[in-house]
Symmetry: C2
Subunit: 144 residues, 2 copies
């Protein structure tokens, strides 16, 4: 909670219920959440539009980052400190691998597993790399 307020302050955002709740949602889980996941986790009575705006703000400030996945459109996860340095024109740098489970449908950040060096054709400029592995996560692969 202390943590959450600090995060907001650090990025120059006012402390509001919605923002606290959303950050709380992310703090409670170890996987990425999409818009719908957040709606379901939120205490009911919240406003959908505000949620859209909150997500957008967090993304712009570098508090959360997008994770693309083939299955469920776009989901989000908290950024590590290393990536949230720059308030204006935040450019997210992900160096870890994401894993999407086909069974529980959760997307995890494998923070300890880094994206290897890769080759790209001449003339291409790399700004950002995403590596998404899909399959069965450690929990789901047991019952298989």
């Amino acid at each position: 909670m202390e943590q959450i307020i600090n995060t907001l302050k650090k990025h120059g955002l006012r402390i509001t219920d919605m923002r606290r709740d959303v950050l709380q949602c992310f703090a409670e889980v170890d996987y990425a959440l999409n818009h719908q996941d957040l709606e379901l986790k939120m205490s009911k009575g919240f406003d959908r539009v505000t949620l859209y705006r909150t997500i957008k703000t967090f993304e712009e400030k570098g508090i959360i980052h997008r994770i693309a996945s083939e299955t469920d459109s776009i989901s989000y996860a908290l950024c590590k400190d290393s990536c949230a340095e720059n308030d204006h024109k935040h450019k997210h740098v992900d160096d870890h691998i994401h894993f999407t489970c086909h069974k529980c449908e959760k997307t995890l950040c494998l923070d300890a597993y880094h994206i290897p060096q890769i080759k790209i054709p001449d003339g291409f400029q790399v700004e950002n790399i995403q590596l998404i592995v899909a399959g069965l996560c450690n929990k789901c692969s047991i019952h298989d």
Copy 2:
């Protein structure tokens, strides 16, 4: 054209205008197309609903594969033969890198560039890997 008809036949699909047109669109470009791209490329007068169904069918049959990207939702590209072997329960296997350009916003299949070997934590089962590099493509990086 011959090619297109063969593709449809090979997957047990009837030859229709819509299907021919959609495959034609993919054949004409060397980058991935999303739903909206296809709408714009299609000869006008087509039906949006049928396009949804066509994309879905092609995906199920393994004629096209999804490419996730943070920016534009989901796009599609033609599968190589190697990946379209299995009609029922098609499981797409991509071994090449995808590149999304931030300027022209196109997503390319870098067929000649393969995803390197990666490490995953114990207990996770890998079924599929996507590596998406974003930045400036060879054409757009020139004017920069």
